[in-house]
């Protein structure tokens, strides 16, 4: 079957973005990516993906905007509270046995998940021995993560999530209201580093005891999922933990054998000792 003209243009646009800006979206799930690029096409008033490609190649102000369509930025503090409860109840006891800890939050968006873990670790008395690496490919998201300021109207949901996750303190202990937003305490960032890292292009950068990569793999096709999970496997220390999103699984993964289910319902896996 011949590709449609739009499909040809879609592939060429991804190729152009890769060559010009070094972002590789070729291995993303097509259905969702194409939908979002169609929205971008409309927003930029372009008739076709070819026209959009022309704009993105010749007007350097377009790509940063386009990136917000290419990546999905939906996140929350303590998103899926049961996941964080499972980390607290089942993973933390293992983490306590290490004198120093490294955690990798891959696809950290604007930092919501990193701050959630930082708060959880402080509540569990593990903060001082831990480094958290938050990585993402969206520079605007990383900048917001660094700033740690969130819209005030999201705070009730975050507070409720934190409580339901088994939080031992009050979320309000960690932020102050200013600039029309909730500014999270800088001390939470003392043990956190935010940096640019792509699961599609970059390599392992540290040995870690826990990888949390939630709601990122669903935007990848199977090969790219395999690449990403391969990075997690190589990055994790022996018997390290991997947490993924509520509707993600290692079921179809090339690396499924390297992990065993640890908290099944919350999609928390443990790397086998012999891998």
């Amino acid at each position: 079957m011949l590709d449609s003209t739009e499909d040809i243009e879609f592939r060429l646009l991804l190729e152009a973005i890769l060559r010009k800006y070094h972002y590789d979206f070729r291995g993303y799930s097509t259905a969702s990516l194409k939908r979002r690029l169609r929205q971008a096409r409309e927003r930029f008033g372009c008739r076709s993906f070819s026209t959009l490609q022309d704009r993105v190649l010749h007007d350097p102000t377009v790509f940063p905007d386009l990136l917000s369509y290419l990546t999905v930025q939906v996140s929350e503090f303590f998103r899926d509270p049961d996941y964080f409860r499972a980390i607290r109840e089942h993973v933390v006891p293992y983490l306590r046995t290490y004198p120093s800890l490294k955690i990798w939050v891959a696809g950290c968006s604007a930092g919501e998940e990193v701050y959630s873990l930082a708060i959880l670790l402080r509540e569990e008395g593990l903060e001082d021995r831990t480094m958290i690496y938050g990585t993402d490919i969206n520079p605007e998201a990383l900048r917001r993560a660094e700033a740690g300021v969130y819209e005030m109207d999201r705070i009730p949901l975050f507070t409720e999530n934190h409580r339901r996750s088994g939080g031992k303190s009050s979320l309000s202990d960690y932020y102050t209201a200013a600039y029309g937003g909730a500014v999270f305490d800088k001390s939470l960032r003392r043990r956190a580093v935010f940096s640019d890292h792509s699961l599609a292009a970059d390599e392992v950068f540290a040995e870690v005891q826990l990888v949390s990569c939630r709601n990122v793999l669903i935007y990848f096709d199977r090969e790219l999922q395999d690449r990403a999970v391969g990075l997690f496997k190589d990055s994790l220390s022996r018997k390290g933990f991997l947490g993924i999103g509520g509707k993600e699984s290692l079921h179809f993964s090339l690396h499924a054998e390297a992990f065993e289910e640890f908290v099944r319902d919350e999609r928390i896996y443990q790397k086998r000792g012999d891998r």
């Binding site: 097509t30 939906v74 669903i218």
Partner: protein, 192 residues
Amino acid sequence: MSGPRVAAVAVGASAGALESLSVILPELPEDYPLPVLVVVHLPPDRKSLMASLLRERCRIAVKEAEDKERIVGGMVYLAPPDYHLMVEEDRRLSLSSEEPVRYSRPSIDVLFETAAEAYGPGLVGIVLSGANSDGARGLRAICDAGGVGLVQSPDQALASAMPHAALLACPEAAAMSLGEIAKHLLGIVGPS
């Protein structure tokens, strides 16, 4: 049998979904050769009873869709609560937690539009009872791609807004009773 071979069925339902689906799906035999992809609007809590309720009533297998799973016949795939369900070109399923579309996640339009692209004329799209207008654009896309549109007769639906909107967007779609829709689904696969 005339027209292109049907390869899949996509169904959208909202208010009144369980009642409507409980009439249609139990009619399908265990070895029904087509996959049936279903989006139902549900409250966004993580554990939904819809799959197990339907499983009890159906002979055809019913499951919650998993990300990147290959679509096979003889299976009803339900979108999990709070995730969009999409069909990839290679006929695998994808889930996504991107923004709700016209207040809905899962969105019937998103399923229908992506399925229309993957299956073209080989798709039957069905809009059932519901109190909003989700599914109308999607059914338009299915018909534009050469597929067939069926709509639960608005005067027989618990909530008629969704069937009305679908028929308005897609006048060539056929309005049918639930019994007729079930019969149609059995008819398109013919005696085996």
